[in-house]
């Protein structure tokens, strides 16, 4: 803590220090069963994604059992292949495990992209104010006027079919939301005693905003980012379902597994169950964690 903020803390009637607040949030999280459930799911997901090559019995997308495939018959679950084979003769369980990787990478990168771009806009709007604020928020309004998935479809159509385009597409839809959140959160800080005190000490606006208001305004962004991870996992699959996802068939991806499963829906409906359940459970984990975080950061908010 710098000398000025120590003075300010005193001047503002010493609000609890950030370390103390962090401890209180941590305590509330520890007592919340939802947070535990979310943390367990998310940890399991991350471990599976990172250790995919160790967990999966085979190499992903090796069509090495193509000999067993006939138009009339695709082998179902067996001891060698827990979930059976797909119509190209590769192991479905391996694909499912490696699919976690794709979801984790795309989810995290697109959330970070959306968070960074949105925060930059929100910081401009909420930190500078005045005309800059009006101009930035108009742009955000335009982005918000297009439903998120359509925005994602538009971006994916421009950038082409690749993992990158999926990330940019999902991030683009989140930019206006993050921008609005940070702006609102900064505006809420504006009239606080510590800001007034800093200003009276003669600190420059930029230093007040970046060094003091921003750290205090990050809470809602953290919550939103966790919830966006859930949305991202679902949207990766949705874009893939619409044919706008990762073009490389060698990369295992839950959304595409669902599309393929649809072709065999009548004969083997349980094929669709596994990737669908993986998506839902992962999204559930991030949602539980996000909601728990929201309550821990702001215990008065009920929902």
């Amino acid at each position: 803590m710098s000398a000025t903020s120590a003075v300010v803390a005193e001047a503002a009637g010493s609000a609890p220090t950030s370390a103390a607040r962090g401890r209180a949030v941590w305590e509330r999280l520890r007592r919340d069963p939802g947070a535990w459930a979310g943390a367990v799911i998310v940890t399991a997901f991350v471990v599976v994604a990172l250790a995919a090559p160790l967990i999966a019995p085979y190499e992903p997308a090796r069509s090495q059992w193509i000999g067993q495939i006939t138009p009339a018959h695709v082998p179902g679950p067996s001891a060698d292949h827990l979930l059976g084979l797909d119509s190209f003769g590769s192991d479905l369980f391996t694909q499912l495990v490696h699919g976690a990787r794709q979801s984790l990478v795309i989810g995290v990168v697109s959330t970070l992209l959306g968070l960074l771009a949105g925060s930059a806009l929100g910081l401009l709007a909420g930190g500078i104010g005045g005309r800059v604020d009006t101009a930035v928020m108009r742009v955000v309004d335009v982005l918000l006027s297009v439903p998120a998935l359509l925005l994602a479809v538009s971006v994916a159509a421009v950038v082409g079919r690749s993992a990158l385009s999926v990330m940019v597409a999902i991030a683009a839809a989140q930019v206006p939301i993050f921008a609005r959140l940070l702006r609102a959160s900064l505006l809420a800080q504006r009239g606080r005693d510590y800001v007034v005190a800093l200003r009276s000490l003669g600190l420059r606006q930029r230093r007040i905003v970046v060094g003091h208001m921003l750290p205090n305004a990050l809470g809602p962004l953290l919550v939103q980012a966790t919830l966006v991870l859930a949305t991202a996992v679902i949207e990766v699959a949705a874009l893939s379902y619409l044919g706008l996802g990762q073009a490389d068939p060698a990369v295992a991806e839950w959304g595409r597994m669902l599309v393929k499963a649809q072709e065999r829906l009548e004969a083997e409906p349980d094929l669709a169950l596994w990737p669908g359940a993986c998506i839902a459970v992962t999204a559930l984990g991030f949602t539980l964690l996000g909601e728990a975080l929201r309550q821990a950061l702001d215990p008065r908010a009920r929902r």
């Binding site: 108009r138 309004d141 297009v146 699959a237 409906p269 669709a272 998506i279 839902a280 559930l284």
Partner: protein
């Protein structure tokens, strides 16, 4: 009230201008040559030049933009490069299907969601409450198209109770007045046609309605819980009003405000979800058409549909704000 409407319509102008510029620029940035895509294997240099001239792709960009805007102002969104049909006509023809689907989905959300949320709040903490809250969480995390698959598989393929796809049985030769099939049947007194359209709507509406349903349940519950702690409810109970009267007049009416706002916010999610749901159930709305347009690089259709959808989205939100004023007298003067 009127000034609120006028002011909100005024705010729409910059959004539309911005959006038209963005869409125009976006379409120029798309990879792939539309003339080539249109002609396919028959593409010759002369043919490509001819298509470019026909659609104005050979003019400088600013001229293309001005032409584009002045045409839009006259309601001309150009013709689909794929079918040659005017974009606006296709939109108007297919939009009723999506409206029908979205309304049915919202109906599911409201009719099921409000009672569930209300009962959960009244019995807060009970196993029933926990079941409802848990279920609503599930509704948000299950991907729309996966849910659509499951419903289609279980009720259409496995049990055979409901049709797998389409809006109406092809053997029914119904007259279509509004293209809202359910309403058409009622207007022309073709009850069978109307009923058949309803039957076709059930599964897509359930799939599309799941997320709004989950959200309505949670908002209703939270909002009822909050209203229940307010003084006027305690007073109403204290003066001996029937529990039913208190619920209806004092609790529900006040608790509905946040719910109506949330419903308006769902308009965008419904349109996006419609793209997925309509594709799974081959439901001939704008969502399914948009999906085809993306895959075929049908620029005029994409531009036009997204612009019109944004307008519809904004208008729906306007209607929601106005209805908010009707529900809550305090907003009218503000």
């Amino acid at each position: 009230m009127l000034s609120l409407v006028v002011r909100r319509l005024g705010l729409l102008v910059p959004v539309l201008v911005g959006l038209s510029v963005l869409l125009f620029a976006w379409v120029r940035a798309l990879p792939g040559d539309p003339a080539r895509a249109l002609l396919g294997e028959r593409a010759t240099p002369a043919g490509i030049a001819e298509v470019n001239r026909l659609y104005g792709f050979d003019q400088p960009w600013w001229q293309q933009y001005l032409t584009y805007v002045s045409r839009i102002a006259r309601g001309d969104f150009g013709n689909s490069t794929r079918t040659g049909q005017p974009v606006l006509d296709t939109f108007l023809e297919r939009f009723p299907a999506t409206v029908e689907l979205a309304v049915a989905a919202l109906l599911v959300a409201v009719v099921v969601g409000i009672p569930l949320g209300y009962l959960a709040a009244r019995r807060a903490g009970s196993w029933w409450d926990q079941l409802v809250v848990g279920g609503s969480l599930l509704g948000v995390v299950v991907p729309v198209f996966f849910l659509a698959f499951l419903l289609k598989w279980l009720f259409a393929l496995e049990l055979g109770w409901l049709p797998t796809a389409g809006r109406q049985d092809a053997r029914i030769d119904a007259t279509h007045v509004t293209n809202l099939y359910v309403l058409d049947g009622l207007l022309t007194r073709e009850w069978d046609a109307s009923w058949d359209a309803v039957v076709h709507l059930v599964l897509p509406a359930l799939a599309l309605g799941a997320i709004p349903l989950a959200i309505v349940v949670r908002i209703t519950r939270a909002s009822v819980l909050e209203v229940l702690t307010e003084d006027h409810v305690r007073t109403a109970e204290a003066k001996g009003l029937l529990r039913r009267t208190v619920s209806r007049r004092h609790v529900l009416r006040n608790a509905m405000l946040p719910v109506s706002t949330t419903l308006g916010l769902q308009a965008g999610a419904l349109l996006a979800g419609a793209v997925l749901t309509e594709t799974v159930f081959a439901f001939n709305g704008i969502g399914e058409y948009l999906f085809q347009a993306v895959n075929q690089l049908d620029y005029p259709v994409l531009q036009g549909f997204i612009l019109v959808i944004a307008v519809v989205y904004a208008l729906v939100n306007l209607v929601v704000d106005v209805s908010y004023g009707l529900l809550d007298p305090r907003v009218r003067t503000a």
